[in-house]
Structures are given as structure tokens and as C-alpha cells.
């Protein structure tokens, strides 16, 4: 209709360089809180975690705790400036960053060498739940933190054979206290686990390729998953805790490394193996933008609380975008 009048795709607001290896994980911290200016954490292939100030656009600190092995996941905890980092050295480290410190205060030994990122669910101050890939190929382990006690191991039924878990999403409905876990498996299926009952509530096969990333909107009870294939799947959860595929969106090029819904649940971003970041309208899944800035596959995307988008790529750059700002 108005096709010829479309504006050209935007440029990044700024670009962070200097990780000197591929960026595998990104995480925003602060922004709206009283901690001052927002920080961006990036985990690189070389095992370093960089802490970037978005004000000066410089790295303020570098954390080296994974022995040169790739960092795959970063997450901050709400209490105090504490950072969780997962590395391919099978360590999940807890960093204390308060008052300029950068020391590892605790670490969890992981048993899986896969690429599966962990997930946390903060239940109350000082207590949180951690989901990590388990010892056996298809297991997910739930730990009570910071005590590191293993709550349970979620192992699919013997005949299911979903393959390895590829991505995890811990969440809790507003109305109930039962923690739930979404797992994307290697065979392309997404399963919903009820942790307290240790059973699969529902499982849908929505991809033909391994699920590489998923995100869930607990308010709308809808989630989205991307895989190594060409399709994005939007699924929803009904009252009986059953997953249903709502919509399949076909992409131009196969391969999604990461997927994230913006905190205000208006848009979502995907990190594509085709070097492009794609922006969709979350409610309608209308494609909004294709950001072709990176020259190698994009490994991760992250949204800040104020809506800033960061994308880390194999080309060692982190691009920061400001799209469709909050109103």
C-alpha cells in the first residue's frame, strides 16, 4: 500500500567495540534504579565479561573468571550489584560488583557442556531459583539459591526423547506461586514443566530444528520461540496449562540465535544467523524492521528497562539501538 513511502531502516545509536572476540551474551542492568547510569554487561568468546557504561560508552571493567572459555549467559540479581555469568568452563559464577569490587563470591559447577543458557526466578529477597542444564543429556536441574541445594531434576519421560534442552525460561504466574519452566528442546519442541509436580504440563512440536531461543510474556500468557530453521513460532498457554501454536512466521533466512520481548511487551527482537536483527510488533507479529548492521551472525539481543536494544555479534561489535521509544 504505502510501500514506497517506507522510511529507510535506522542506524544504530552507537556501537561498542573492544571486546576483541565474538560477543555471546548481553545483559542490561539498572537504568531506572537508583544505581546511577545503566550498565551493559557483555560476555565474549574469549571468556571475558565487559562492563560498559552507556553514558561514556566505554568499558568500565573487565571480569575474567572463566579461564578463557566462552561466556554464554549473563544475569544480574536484584539485590545489590551481583552478576551471574555462565561459561563454557562449566562454571556458573556469582560476582560481587558492589563498590567497585569484582570478585567471584560463589560458583556452581555445571554438568552439561552444551550451549544451553540457564534461567533464574527470583522468589524473594535473597532467595532465588536457578534452572541449569543437568547431567544427563535431556535433563534440567533446578537449584535453590544461594544455598545451591538441588530441588529436583526434570527428566522427560523415557519415550519422549526430546534431545538436549537448548534454552530455558523460568517464570511464575502472577496468580499462583507455582514456578513453571519452559524448555526448548533439541528436537524443536517446547515443553512446559510444572516444577513442583515435576511433570510436563504440555509439550508442542513447533519447530523442525532445535529451538535456539524463547521468551515468554507471562501477562498475555504467550511466548515465542525461534529455532535453527526458518520459522518463528508464537504459542500461548490456556487455562489448563496447555500450549497451543498460534502463529508461525516464516523468515527469509534460517537461524535464530536469541529472541527477546521488550519489557513493555510492545516489540520483540531476534538475533539472526543471517547477520540481521529483526524487530516485530509483539501483539500482531507484524515485521517492523530488519536491521542489517552486523557483518557476522548476531549472537544475542537484550533490552534495557528503558527500551534500549543491544545486539552482540560474532563480528565483535555490540550495536545499541533506540527503536520505537516508550511513550
Amino acid at each position: 500500500m504505502a510501500a514506497p513511502l517506507l522510511p529507510p531502516p535506522p542506524d544504530p545509536q552507537f556501537v561498542l567495540r573492544g571486546t576483541q572476540s565474538a560477543v555471546n551474551a548481553l545483559h542490561f542492568c539498572g537504568g531506572t534504579q537508583a544505581q546511577g547510569c545503566p550498565l551493559l554487561f557483555s560476555g565474549s568468546q574469549s571468556g571475558l565479561v565487559h562492563i560498559w557504561s552507556l553514558q561514556t560508552r566505554r568499558a568500565v571493567a573487565t571480569l575474567d573468571g572463566h579461564g578463557g572459555q566462552s561466556v554464554t549467559w549473563l544475569q544480574t540479581l536484584p539485590q545489590g550489584p551481583q552478576l551471574l555469568s555462565q561459561g563454557r568452563d562449566l562454571q556458573l559464577c556469582l560476582w560481587d560488583l558492589a563498590e567497585g569490587r569484582n570478585t567471584i563470591v560463589d560458583s556452581v559447577h555445571l554438568k552439561s557442556v552444551g550451549f544451553c543458557r540457564s534461567s533464574i526466578l527470583v522468589e524473594e529477597q535473597l532467595r532465588w531459583m536457578l534452572a541449569v542444564p543437568g547431567k544427563d543429556n535431556d535433563e534440567v536441574q533446578i537449584l535453590e539459591m544461594p544455598s545451591k541445594t538441588s530441588v529436583c531434576t526434570l527428566k522427560p519421560e523415557a519415550d519422549a526423547k526430546p534431545g538436549m534442552p537448548m534454552c530455558l525460561g523460568l517464570w511464575q504466574a502472577d496468580t499462583s506461586l507455582r514456578p513453571l519452566l519452559l524448555v526448548g528442546y533439541e528436537d524443536g519442541s517446547v515443553a512446559l514443566w510444572d516444577i513442583s509436580e515435576r511433570k510436563v504440563c504440555s509439550r508442542i512440536a513447533c519447530h523442525g530444528e532445535p529451538v535456539m531461543g524463547l521468551d515468554f510474556d507471562s501477562q498475555k500468557a504467550r511466548g515465542i520461540s525461534g529455532s535453527a530453521g526458518k520459522e518463528l513460532a508464537v504459542w500461548s498457554l490456556d487455562g489448563q496449562q496447555a500450549l497451543q501454536v498460534r502463529h508461525i512466521h516464516e523468515l527469509t533466512n534460517p537461524g535464530i540465535a536469541d529472541i527477546m520481548i521488550r519489557p513493555d511487551r510492545k516489540i520483540l527482537a531476534t538475533a539472526g544467523w543471517d547477520h540481521r536483527i529483526r524487530i516485530f510488533h509483539w501483539r500482531t507479529m507484524k515485521p517492523l524492521a530488519v536491521l542489517a548492521f552486523h557483518s557476522a551472525s548476531v549472537h544475542c539481543v537484550a533490552f534495557a528497562a528503558d527500551g534500549l536494544l543491544a545486539a552482540g555479534s560474532k563480528d565483535q561489535r555490540i550495536s545499541i539501538w533506540s527503536l520505537y521509544p516508550h511513550t
Binding site: L6, P8, S236, H247, N253, K266, V290, A292
Partner: protein, 833 residues
């Protein structure tokens, strides 16, 4: 009897005498009244014998006398037009044949327009409108015993049929509408139906009758080419009348049978055309083709093989007619056999016009649709042999339409002859012709009579409408369903996503040499690099002409031998463009290489034709004015098309550039007031024709060796397709060399080339020669033509004149037009000289 006859004779003689001399109205009236008694159907009639004698002997005399007396003054003798009425009644009520003959005689005998002539013409018009013509013909259908009868009938026949001509000749502008052929012959048709009705009635009454006079009338009218008018009336009525009546059918059969041999073809062709379908034709003709040799010849040979004017509908009627009866079916099989023989004959393919080939093919398909499995089985071998021969020589043809015909017919034949075997499938474009042909091949339902019944039998099956599609129970849109938030999409205006293309994982090479290397690696694993190289090559060549020149010949070699190894979209185009780019960059050396390879041993025809195409395109690109200093535009080859700056999308770095430029230009335009409107024009920049210096390298090596056959390549033999392409290419090169000094020797060589090939059998080659001659005329200045090559020009001219005639014979419309146009140009050149 003798006294009675003499009594009639006496009274008639007396009456005639009175009529000729008397000026007294009352007397004339009474005499006429007494004569009227002898006419049939008068009040107080005379004895039948007397009437008969009057009719046979004296009627004509009386009529001639009446005609002779006719004048305004004579008609005034009795007031109130009574005399005129009585006068006319003799013609309208007496024996029709004599009245007609006398009228015609009188009209023919009058010189120039006059009252007399007009009166006679009006009387004749009344004669026609009162149905006397039917009476006339009916009379002739009765058994006749009189001596001299055939002679009289012959005269009558010719007068009846040629009435419009005679009247037209006499009356000129005053001719009455009734006598126009378009009105007269339909009337004649209706009268004929009435005659046939009378014949049927009298046959029912047990009387003997003959329809031969009507047949002869019909035959003669049809010979005169008026079959549309007369049969247009006759056939529909007969169609209705013969339905369900055996007697009528037999009368009809007899009617056609009695048509003289000389007129049989005209009548049958007319009937086939006028009949709405084979059923009707079958009712009207019966088994005529079996009984009558002439009819058989016309129907099975003449209409099918010796002419090709029948429409598809007529063919369907004709062949359907042959198929409808068991006695006629052997004829159909024989027809099919002969049709296929013609279809498969090499000389027929080469020497008959395309329209006739299509006609024969159509007939073959219709025959096949009518014939059943067992009938085909008997002559399977023979049919198969003919088909194979036909397919072979058709596929060899250089005309696409002929090839297509071959494919379609071969598919259908093989499907019918070998229904159990694997189906033969050709790849051809699905167009109107092929659909029409294939539709013919499907057998029609047996009782297809909706045409003839005048729409009375409606098709009940058509009205049925498919059940409405029930809407899917699961609504597809579930996305918006549970959303309570009413956030509008207005704030989420999508950005331009046109750049979202499929990603090629490997990078395109950056240098021409890299491309060559990528193209020559034979490992299957690096196909993506190979594709990327192919796609990037043309741009690289344009950007780095220096680097290209270093490797131009090798690159051309690589490209020429390149084979499609993956399914790259537009492989042929990419390769061709790259080759053209190389040739343009380094014309002399690459052209030398390509032309030498054209006559080299180990190339396929495809490659040789590629060479020709590339040379033509490169020459076109080189000769384009203002080529230098402009970014390469592939699509717009025509000179002078200055398109908006649309950069190739692949240059992602500069992708942003056009946008701001457009914005700025728009802004400037909106702020600038111009006093004169009009498209901003750019003067075409003058520059040297780059093709001029290398035209010889392109042209002469190509034209030199065409007559030296190789083991693998024989231009004058089987590879006439390439020869056709070569002639076209040479013509194009000649044309592109306009305004160059080398044009004159090129033109000379080309005219000699044309002379050597002027009698080539292939149409495509001859078309190429025509284009070559025309480009010589265009490119070589007229004075040089006349000065340097007068002999060649004369020879070309004589050939063109002959070619124009030949093309006409073969109905190659285009060929003829071109030949004539070129001939015209040639003549002009001469005249100017």
C-alpha cells in the same frame, strides 16, 4: 381434338389481332377477358383440353403480344388501372415457366431505361414475391414428356440462376432490391424448400417426381459462389424438416445426389459450411460419399488435402459425418492414414505453408478423436511410422510454430495409439493454439445435438453450482483475540525491509582473477562461491577494465565453457552478460578468440549460438552512442534512455546515498519556480562509434568459413539453425557498423554471402538473408553502394523480387512483407543513384 385445337387457335389469333390493332379500351378488355378463360383457376373456365392447348401453344404468343403493346397510352385506354391489372394477371397466373421466359426475354431485349423496362421489372418483382418461382420449379419437377424439354429446362435454369446479373445489367442504378443477389438467392432457397415440400406431398400421394431441376439450380448457384445465401435459408429449414421424417431425408439425399458432378464440390463445401454439426450433415447427405465417386473425392481428398480453407468447425462436421455411419467409417480410417502420411512427409513439412500444416494437424486430431481403439489397432504400425517421420522432420524445423505443432500432434497420437505405454511428453508453452488443439483431441459426447435443435435441449448439468464453501471452523487469526490492551499500531510504522534478501553464506570474490579461479574450481563443495562469483563477475569487469584486459581471453574461454552446475536463477543471462562485458572491455582480442572458436571443432551448437549472441550484444553495446562515462546499464540498450540514478542494490555501502539525494532534489524542486515547463533535456553527447575500429574483427572471421564443413559442424548441412542465426548476426553486425568506413567492404562481403545462400530451403535462413540485405542498404551509403557494388546490388534485387513471390506462395506473410519492403528500399537506392 383437332377441331377444338383449331378453335382455340382461331380465337387466339383473332384476339391477338384485336389486341395489336385496337385502341378501344372496352374492346381490349373484353378480348383479354375471353382469353383469360383459358388460364387455370379463372372464373367460368374453358374446357381443360382447351386450356392445355392454350398453355402449350398459344400462351407465349399472347404474352409476347401483350409485352409488345405495353405503353403508357395503351394502359390509359381503360380507366382505373383495370387494364393493367388484367394485363399483369396473365403473367402471374399463366404457366410460370413461359411467363418467366417471356419476361426475361422482354427485359433483356430492351435497350436502356424506359417506362417499358420499369414496368416489366416491377412485374417480375411481383412474379417473385407471389411465389411464382416455386411454381416454375415445381412444374419442372413433374415428369415431362414433351420433346425439346431438356433444352427448355437448360434455358430456364440459366435464366433463373443468372437473374440478378441480367437485371443488374439492364437496370443499372434503377435496379430493384428484390433482384440484388443477397436478396434473390435467399428467396430462391425458400422457394426451393416450398418446391421440395410439394414434391414430398406428391410423393406421399403416390406420384412420381424428380428433384433434379432443383438440384441443378442449387448446383449452379453454388458454383456462382452464392452458396452462403441459398444454403443459409435452405439448410436450417431442411434440418428441421428432416428431423424424424424418412421421406424428407430421402428427398434431401436425392437432391444432393442429383447435383451435376461439376457442381458437386461447390454444393458439398457449402453444405459442410452451413451444417451446424455432423449429425445434420449426416441427415442431409446420407451415404452419399459411398455411392457417389465425385462426392467421395470431394469429401475425402479435395476438402482435406488440396485446400485448407475449412474452419475447424467445418472440419469437425466433415470428419464427424464420416464417422457417424458404419459404411462410412472405413473412409475415415483411410482419411486418417492419408492425413498422417501427408503429415509425416518431409517435403510437405518443408514446402507447405504453416496454415496448411496446421490444418492437416487439426484434421488428424479430429480423426483421432472419432476413431476407437480397435480401429486404430489394425493400422497401428503404419500410423506410428508416419508419426515418427513427421515428428522428426518437424522437430528439425527452425520455425517454432512448426515444432510446436509436431509436439502437440505427436503427444496426442502416441497417447491414442499406445494408451498403455508411457505417455510422450514434450515441453512447450501452453498457449491458445496448443489448448485449442488439445481440446480437439478429446472425443465429443456422442449425442451432442444441442446445436441443431435450436437451443431446445438445454444442458441440465451446467446449472448445478458447487456447494458453498463452508468457512473453516478454526479461525486463523488467534493473535489479537485475548488482547485487552488497545495499543494502536500507528506508532509502529515499519521500516523499509526491501533489503531483506536471502543471505549468501560465502562472500563474493572481489577481483576478476578470483572470479576466474572460483569459476574453474571443480570441487562440488564450493558451489556457493561459484554462484557468487558468477553473479559478481559482470560488475567486477565493468569496474576493473584494466585487470580484465589482462585476462580477457582466458576469461572468455572459461565463460564459454561454463556449464550450469547448480540451479542459479538466470544462469544463462548471467553468463551471457559477463561474456558481453568481457567482449566490450577488450573487443579486438576477445572477438578474435570467439570468432575463431565459432568454427572450431569441439563445441556444441548451443555454444556456437551463444558466441553469435554475445558478439551481437557486444557490438550493440560498443556502438551505443555516449557509452563512455556512464555507469553500465544492462536493461536499457536503446540509446538515449536516461534513467534515474538507480544504483545496483548490491553496493550496500552507498545504499543510503540516493535517499538523501532524492530528498534534496525534491526540496530544491519544490522551492524553485520554473517559468517554462518541459522535461529537463540532456543533449545526447557526441562521441566516436567504438565499434568502428573493431567491426572487422567481429565480422570478417565469421563470414569467411561458413562453407567449410567440419566433422561436428556443417553449416550448409544439418546445422541450418545455426546458419540462420549466423545470417541474422551478420545482418545485425552490418547494421551496427553504420557510419563506419569498414561498412563498404562488409556490405560487399555480406551481399556475396547472401548471393551464395539465396536458394536455401530453410525459411529462417532466408529471413536472415533478408535482414542482412536490409541492413546493408541501411548501413552502406547509397552512393557507395551504386559506385562500388552495383552488380551485387542488382543481383540482390533480382533475388528479392523472386523471394517476394516465393514467400507469397508459401503464405509466409512476414517474409513477403519484409521482402517487399527491402525491395522497395533497394529500388529507392537505385532511383536516387
Amino acid at each position: 381434338m383437332e377441331p377444338a385445337r383449331s378453335a382455340v387457335g382461331l380465337s387466339v389469333r383473332e384476339a391477338v389481332h384485336t389486341l395489336q390493332s385496337s385502341e378501344d379500351g372496352g374492346r381490349v378488355l373484353s378480348v383479354l377477358g375471353s382469353l383469360r378463360r383459358y388460364l387455370r383457376g379463372a372464373e367460368e373456365p374453358a374446357l381443360p383440353d382447351e386450356q392445355e392447348e392454350f398453355a402449350a401453344k398459344h400462351f407465349a404468343t399472347v404474352l409476347r403480344c401483350l409485352v409488345g403493346r405495353l405503353s403508357p397510352r395503351w394502359l390509359q385506354l381503360s380507366p382505373g388501372g383495370r387494364l393493367e391489372q388484367l394485363w399483369g394477371s396473365f403473367f402471374l397466373e399463366g404457366p410460370a415457366d413461359q411467363a418467366f421466359l417471356v419476361l426475361m426475354e422482354a427485359i433483356e431485349g430492351t435497350v436502356g431505361p424506359s417506362f417499358h423496362l420499369m414496368k416489366m421489372a416491377q412485374l417480375l418483382a411481383r412474379f417473385l414475391s407471389e411465389g411464382r418461382m416455386a411454381a416454375l420449379m415445381e412444374e419442372q419437377c413433374r415428369p415431362q414428356t414433351k420433346p425439346g424439354f431438356p433444352l427448355l429446362q437448360e434455358t430456364l435454369l440459366s435464366k433463373v440462376v443468372s437473374l440478378p446479373d441480367h437485371l443488374g445489367n439492364r437496370l443499372h442504378q434503377d435496379n430493384l432490391a428484390q433482384f440484388f443477389p443477397q436478396n434473390y438467392f435467399p428467396l430462391l432457397g425458400e422457394e426451393a424448400v416450398r418446391v421440395l415440400q410439394a414434391v414430398v406431398d406428391s410423393l406421399r400421394g403416390g406420384l412420381h417426381c424428380s428433384v433434379s431441376f432443383v438440384s441443378r439450380v442449387l448446383g449452379k448457384v453454388c458454383i456462382q459462389g452464392r452458396h452462403k445465401e441459398i444454403l443459409g435459408r435452405l439448410v436450417p429449414q431442411l434440418t428441421a424438416l428432416t428431423q424424424g421424417s424418412c421421406l424428407w431425408q430421402r428427398v434431401c439425399w436425392r437432391l444432393v445426389e442429383q447435383v451435376p458432378d461439376g457442381a458437386m464440390e461447390a454444393v458439398l463445401a457449402g453444405l459442410v459450411e452451413a451444417a451446424p454439426g455432423p449429425e445434420v450433415l449426416s441427415r442431409l447427405l446420407g451415404n452419399l460419399v459411398v455411392k457417389n465417386k465425385k462426392a467421395q473425392f470431394v469429401m475425402t481428398r479435395k476438402l482435406l488435402f488440396l485446400q485448407y480453407r475449412c474452419t475447424t468447425h467445418m472440419l469437425q462436421s466433415l470428419l464427424g459425418y464420416l464417422a457417424m455411419d458404419n459404411q462410412r467409417r472405413p473412409l475415415l480410417i483411410q482419411v486418417l492414414r492419408e492425413l498422417l502420411e501427408t503429415w509425416g512427409s518431409r517435403s510437405a513439412v518443408r514446402h507447405t505453408p504453416l496454415a496448411q500444416q496446421r490444418y492437416i494437424s487439426t484434421a488428424v486430431l479430429i480423426c483421432l478423436a472419432h476413431l476407437g481403439e480397435p480401429e486404430l489397432r489394425d493400422s497401428r504400425e503404419e500410423l506410428l511410422a508416419s508419426m515418427m517421420a513427421g515428428v522428426k522432420c518437424r522437430l528439425d524445423s527452425s520455425l517454432p510454430a512448426v515444432r510446436r505443432l509436431g509436439m502437440i500432434v505427436a503427444e496426442v497420437i502416441s497417447a491414442r495409439i499406445h494408451p498403455e505405454g508411457p505417455p510422450l511428453r514434450f515441453q512447450y508453452e501452453d498457449d491458445e493454439l496448443s489448448r485449442e488443439m488439445l481440446a480437439l483431441a478429446t472425443p465429443r459426447p456422442a449425442g451432442d445435438s444441442s446445436l441443431e435443435a435450436g437451443g431446445s435441449s438445454l444442458d441440465p448439468g451446467v446449472a448445478e453450482t458447487p456447494a458453498e464453501i463452508v468457512e473453516g471452523s478454526v479461525p486463523a487469526a488467534g493473535l489479537q483475540g485475548s488482547d485487552s490492551e488497545l495499543d494502536s499500531d500507528d506508532e509502529f510504522v515499519p521500516y523499509d525491509m526491501s533489503g531483506d534478501k536471502e543471505l549468501k553464506s560465502s562472500k563474493a570474490p572481489q577481483y576478476v582473477r578470483d572470479c576466474m579461479e572460483a569459476l574453474t574450481t571443480f570441487e562440488g563443495k564450493d558451489m556457493e562461491r561459484w554462484e557468487a562469483a558468477l553473479q559478481a563477475l559482470e560488475g567486477l569487469i565493468h569496474r576493473n577494465p584494466e585487470a580484465t584486459r589482462e585476462v580477457s581471453v582466458e576469461l572468455a574461454k572459461v565463460l564459454l565453457h561454463l556449464e550450469e552446475r547448480t540451479c542459479v536463477a538466470g544462469f544463462e543471462k548471467l553468463r551471457q552478460r559477463a561474456l558481453v562485458a568481457v567482449t566490450v572491455t577488450d573487443p579486438a582480442r576477445v572477438a578474435e578468440h570467439l570468432t575463431s572458436q565459432f568454427y572450431a571443432l569441439n563445441y556444441s551448437l548451443r555454444q556456437r549460438m551463444d558466441i553469435l549472441d554475445v558478439l551481437t550484444l557486444a557490438a550493440q553495446e560498443l556502438s551505443r552512442p555516449g557509452r563512455l562515462g556512464r555507469s553500465p546499464q544492462h536493461s536499457s540498450l536503446g540509446p538515449g534512455t536516461q534513467s534515474s540514478p538507480a544504483l545496483p542494490a548490491s553496493q550496500s555501502g552507498s545504499a543510503m546515498a540516493p535517499d538523501w539525494r532524492v530528498v534534496v532534489e525534491n526540496r530544491i524542486r519544490s522551492k524553485t519556480r520554473r517559468f517554462s515547463k518541459g522535461a529537463p533535456r540532456q543533449e545526447p553527447a557526441g562521441g566516436p562509434n567504438e565499434f568502428a575500429s573493431v567491426a572487422g574483427c567481429f565480422f570478417f572471421p565469421l563470414i569467411q568459413h561458413f562453407d567449410r564443413p567440419l566433422v561436428t559442424f556443417d553449416l550448409l548441412g544439418d546445422d541450418q539453425l545455426v546458419l540462420g542465426r549466423l545470417t541474422h548476426t551478420l545482418g545485425a553486425l552490418m547494421y551496427l557498423a553504420v557510419n563506419t568506413t569498414v561498412a563498404v567492404p562488409m556490405g560487399k562481403a555480406l551481399l556475396e554471402f547472401v548471393w551464395a545462400l539465396r536458394f536455401h530451403v530453410d525459411t529462417y535462413v532466408r529471413q536472415g538473408l533478408l535482414s542482412a540485405v536490409s541492413s546493408v542498404l541501411l548501413s552502406v551509403p547509397a552512393e557507395r553502394l551504386l559506385e562500388d557494388l552495383p552488380d551485387e546490388l542488382l543481383e540482390a534485387r533480382s533475388w528479392l523480387a523472386g523471394e517476394s513471390v516465393t514467400s507469397q506462395e508459401f503464405q509466409i506473410q512476414k517474409g513477403r512483407q519484409v521482402a517487399e519492403r527491402v525491395l522497395g528500399a533497394c529500388t529507392q537506392v537505385h532511383r536516387r543513384g
